[in-house]
Symmetry: C2
Subunit: 206 residues, 2 copies
């Protein structure tokens, strides 16, 4: 709506515990919303079967990642289970400057760092319906050992308590419904008057 008025695209940060379904929800969202790009993260973890460089992640060596960090090319990063995960800054600045909205699939601490740097970013915390459902989803992946799943659940317990620090909280009961709810949040954010500077004058003069 009146998208031409918006000087800049909006940066949406989607966080939540591992296994809650951030990746699936983002894929569903991008099918609903043609103005939404996602940010491809950089990681040093090896690709899982079927993952492609530049699509799911940019897969980089530890040495390359550390060079990007030193050059200030990484907005935020984290080390998780022995691997770096980071958000490259360049594509994000280019796309929002072009008026494209971007959604980041981002860790909880990464979101908080991003919000310090971009206070106008919009933060969304994705919650599982319950901890037992989160365990089922992590087990269902079949890619992690029981010990890794237990470690992720321990982290999840702490992360869920951070939900009130995010602007929006959305429960992922079912991916389609959840994507619709986040789509509504995006549409609302695009309608905020502070993002529509000059709209009154435009209407007065046409």
């Amino acid at each position: 709506m009146e998208i031409g008025l918006r000087a800049k695209g909006i940066l949406f940060c989607l966080s939540g515990p591992s296994g809650v379904g951030k990746g699936t929800v983002i894929r569903a969202l991008r099918q609903l919303d043609g103005n939404l790009d996602h940010s491809v993260s950089v990681t040093t973890r090896p690709p899982r079967p079927g993952e492609r460089d530049g699509v799911e992640y940019y897969f980089r060596s530890r040495q390359d990642f550390e060079a990007m960090l030193a050059a200030g090319e990484i907005l935020e990063h984290d080390e998780y289970c022995g691997h770096y995960y980071g958000t490259p800054l360049g594509p994000l600045q280019e796309k929002t400057a072009q008026g494209r909205d971007i959604i980041l699939d981002i860790t909880v601490p990464g979101s908080l760092v991003t919000l310090e740097r971009f206070p106008e970013a919009v933060s969304i915390f994705l919650l599982p319906p319950s901890l037992s459902e989160l365990r089922r989803r992590l087990e269902g992946r079949g890619t992690e050992t029981a010990a890794v799943i237990q470690a992720r659940l321990d982290v999840a317990r702490k992360e869920i308590l951070e939900a009130p620090r995010f602007t929006y909280n959305v429960v992922n009961h079912e991916v389609g419904r959840c994507a619709e709810q986040i789509r509504a949040i995006m549409e609302a954010e695009r309608s905020r008057s502070e993002r529509l500077t000059g709209i009154a004058e435009l209407i007065m003069n046409r």
Copy 2:
């Protein structure tokens, strides 16, 4: 979504110049949204053909209206073309206490008074696509004289400049699309973490 968690319903204030289509949009919204009530205003203007007491308005005498004002039963009121228009406070407090959301069809100054009293209310300013389109809509009603229409347009020019003081700005190009956009704003507001106190604890314990 997780509506049981919300302690209180949300008060939405929908304002905009006369003729922009607030009433039509609210009727469309209430068909989309089962949890949304509207507030029936009190007025001293005589009913138009087909209008029923307690449905479009509560029709009251000037004496009765002034008694309600004196008793503090009117949240905000205005005098327009020689008639009082006011928002009764009681139904609004009862319904939000029950967790129902309410939308007010309210004048621009009335919205600003309401926001002072209820800072947690959500304000939406409905804009016409252009001033010439607003004139067409006012003329299309066929109920006002040319002088009244000109007076309303003069007021509209001043009111539109207040749009940035409202949280959301929505352009009413077409009623269905406009109602969908406001529906998205409502869904987003219901997902704000400050309205979902206790959600993290609930998920941890079930």
